[in-house]
């Protein structure tokens, strides 16, 4: 079965996580480096994870995609196309910003932000959609479909489709569509059709189910533009390929700006695409500790979370074997997170592998911790981060404090955080969380509604009201 093909890493690496202690991290790193490189793992298997647990009907399409991708990635013309779009359309390279005031809260270590939030469409998602949309064109497909959680991937897909003249249909859980109404409108403005999904938990996993059903029926004309580094082969390796630019840039930038590699790299993990993109740049640098922060929701002992690696166990979902939140019967458990983009009960198979060999440490961050970090970044750096990315920020605060506690001058230590997206889409959620809204959903003291275009009832909000409540 999933008996590992290459992944080119050593089998002897430590099982378990090496919970962030420096010693364990480096020992593990040495162990895998002795066995070769962890970069560019081609799939279909990453250790025993990955593969193709898919209906036969879709295998031909996956084969076609794999073949097209393999040719494209060694085609100078294709690579030049991607590079040109990255430079002149997405706005790459994205900045690496030192967060000096934020750093004071992270034990005084130097924190750098990889600014994927500054990309066109506001997140890292654009890297993948442009690449896949170009592949769709190469395959002669005229239509792309996509799933979306927070709406970032849906917006990015609609954008790429508009740019390249493709029809676009986006499946979005009805619950998510309510949470991210503004992104629904964005997708529609870009010419996409948004289909609210009312099955199951009405979130990302159910949107993927419906997208797969659409794909089975329309595979001749349609490419499934999967938004994360998960799913059946070749998606995990393919999506990572288009996001590797994040890590490649970050590595070069930190060397240029500081003259050395970072001590730690942090990213948030839903399906894990932004994380695998930045991690990839540092996988073979044994001195760099790598951390993935999952959505701990209301707390991992509450059952309401999306901490797939922390608490899940291996299973198959949406085409790949990977860690999975499931019950005793193998039924997928509904995940919970304040962040729609992390609210997914699975995770990309390469992350499962990197966890098992101990190269990457995965930890949960609760909603509350993420929102504290969200506010902190707003107020110390003038940057409103996506709530997804706020999980990475909260993790970086912990990592920074741990690094500082190890002794030495903390200002000599460096942490890079992948700021995977900006928080414009999360303003309503944040305003709600921080008690900034009145009972009508208006920002207190104003008639400004965050809920919908028509929500701003003319009833004047009492002037004193805003200060009185909560």
């Amino acid at each position: 079965m999933g008996e590992s093909t290459p992944a080119s890493a050593p089998q002897h690496a430590a099982e378990g996580t090496g919970q962030g202690t420096g010693e364990a991290g480096e020992t593990t790193a040495d162990a895998f480096l002795a066995g070769g490189s962890l970069r560019h793992a081609p799939g279909p298997y990453f250790g025993s994870y990955g593969g193709r647990w898919m209906p036969e009907s879709l295998i031909a399409a996956l084969d076609e995609l794999e073949e097209t991708f393999e040719k494209a990635k060694s085609d100078p013309e294709f690579l030049a196309q991607i590079a040109e779009l990255n430079r002149t359309y997405s706005g790459r390279p994205s900045l690496l910003t030192e967060a000096k005031r934020f750093s004071a809260h992270a034990g005084g270590v130097r924190v750098f932000l990889k600014r994927e939030d500054l990309n066109h469409t506001g997140s890292h998602k654009i890297n993948n959609v442009l690449g896949q949309a170009l592949l769709a064109k190469r395959m002669g497909k005229t239509r792309v479909i996509a799933e979306t959680g927070a709406g970032q991937h849906g917006v990015a897909s609609a954008t790429a489709a508009a740019l390249l003249g493709l029809e676009c249909v986006v499946y979005m859980g009805a619950e998510d569509a309510r949470r991210q109404a503004l992104n629904v409108a964005r997708m529609q403005l870009l010419g996409a059709t948004v289909v609210p999904v009312t099955n199951g938990s009405q979130t990302l996993k159910d949107a993927i189910n419906d997208a797969l059903r659409d794909w089975v029926a329309n595979v001749r004309t349609t490419h499934y533009l999967l938004g994360t580094a998960a799913g059946a082969h070749p998606f995990p390796a393919l999506v990572r390929f288009f996001h590797e630019v994040i890590g490649d840039e970050a590595r070069e930038q930190i060397l240029t700006q500081t003259g050395r590699l970072p001590d730690a790299v942090c990213a948030c993990i839903g399906g894990g695409s932004n994380a695998i993109g930045i991690f990839h740049g540092f996988l073979d640098d044994p001195s760099v500790r790598i951390y993935g922060f999952e959505a701990g929701g209301e707390g991992i002992d509450t059952g309401r979370h999306a901490a797939t690696i922390t608490l899940g166990r291996p299973g198959v979902l949406h085409g790949a074997r990977s860690y999975l939140m499931q019950d005793e019967d193998g039924q997928t458990i509904e995940s919970h997170s304040i962040s729609a983009g992390l609210d997914y009960p699975g995770v990309g198979p390469e992350h499962s592998y990197l966890h098992d060999i101990g190269r990457v440490t995965y930890e949960p961050i609760t909603d509350a911790e993420a929102m504290d970090a969200f506010r902190l970044l707003c107020r110390t750096e003038g940057i409103i981060p996506a709530i997804e990315s706020s999980h990475a920020l909260a993790g970086a605060l912990k990592v920074g404090q741990r690094l500082a506690a190890e002794g030495g001058d903390p200002a000599e230590k460096i942490v890079i955080v992948n700021l995977s997206g900006r928080g414009d889409k999360d303003v309503q959620t944040a305003a709600d969380w921080f008690g900034m809204l009145d009972e009508n959903g208006n920002v207190k003291g104003t008639t400004l509604s965050t809920r919908s275009a028509k929500g701003g009832q003319p009833q004047a909000a009492g002037q004193g009201e805003a200060k009185e409540q909560q």
């Binding site: 059903r213 089975v216 198959v316």
Partner: protein, 269 residues
């Protein structure tokens, strides 16, 4: 010999294709799904597929999704599928009905492939139909199905290449499940033109017994497919009957459908 194959051959020897009916376990209750299965066999189904309700049924359309979601909401547990298989198999011993389980793969993985196979065999089950497991990933299932003498039914589709058809046909035991169209389960007005091509391609690739499913809901569809396939698989229409009229309605529909099976009477009767 394979229990499913024997049952199909018996039908063929009688001058007709086999009728295969699908019902989800635990819908609307474990007991009623057993009763419906028995009615289905009495109504003329030679083989029965019992579906395991699953949280993420990507190959299913709205009718089956609604039924399995309801079963799960009412607390269906995977282990109950063995009770359903046993209940139907024992009550239809006189007919020799072959009862298979159709399941997405993760519930099997979670229980343990060997454990699932052992319990299925103990319950008298004939084998498994696996809509999201391809032979490429099925090594563990090959071993377990050999160990317990179970049939393994993989799917072939209009999109399958000749190479994959051959590989899959070889991997199957019992029969090969030919998907009639590119899509998910659910009634359609007409049988997709691709159905006959898939059957022919599967035969050319070495498949011994080929049964056609997806989008087959009426006696007219059955009649059309029975003309060239070894078996005809009906799912959503039976689930709708169970939903609207319970086990007796399932039995009535099975009788209607089975009237379409006979190759010789198709023209006259």
């Amino acid at each position: 010999m394979s229990k499913s194959a024997a049952k199909i051959d018996q039908a063929l020897a009688g001058g007709r294709a086999a009728l295969i009916g699908y019902l989800p376990a635990g819908y609307p209750s474990v007991e009623e799904s057993i009763e419906a299965g028995i009615e289905l066999a009495r109504g003329g189904a030679d083989l029965i597929e019992i579906g395991v309700p699953y949280s993420d049924p990507v190959m299913d359309g709205s009718v089956i999704q609604a039924a399995t979601t309801e079963a799960l909401a009412r607390g269906f547990r995977v282990a109950s599928v063995f009770d359903v298989v046993r209940g139907i198999t024992e009550a239809t011993a006189d007919l020799g009905t072959a009862v298979l389980v159709m399941t997405y793969w993760n519930p099997v993985v979670r229980m343990g492939v060997d454990e699932f196979a052992r319990r299925l065999a103990e319950a008298g089950g004939a084998g498994l139909i696996t809509p999201d497991l391809i032979p490429d990933e099925a090594e563990e299932w090959f071993e377990a199905s050999d160990r317990y003498g179970l049939d393994r039914v993989f799917l072939v589709a209009p999109s399958s290449t000749p190479e994959r058809m051959a590989m899959t046909a070889k991997a199957c035991r019992g029969f090969t499940y030919a998907v009639s169209l590119m899509g998910v389960t659910g009634a359609r007005t007409a049988v997709d033109a691709a159905a006959r091509d898939v059957v022919e391609a599967a035969r050319a690739a070495g498949a011994e017994r080929v049964c056609v499913g997806l989008g087959v809901s009426t006696a007219e569809h059955v009649r059309e497919i029975a003309d060239y396939a070894d078996g005809v698989i009906v799912g959503s229409a039976l689930v709708s009957a169970q939903r609207d009229g319970g086990p007796s309605a399932v039995g009535r529909l099975a009788s209607e459908l089975s009237a379409g099976l006979s190759r010789t009477t198709a023209a006259g009767a």
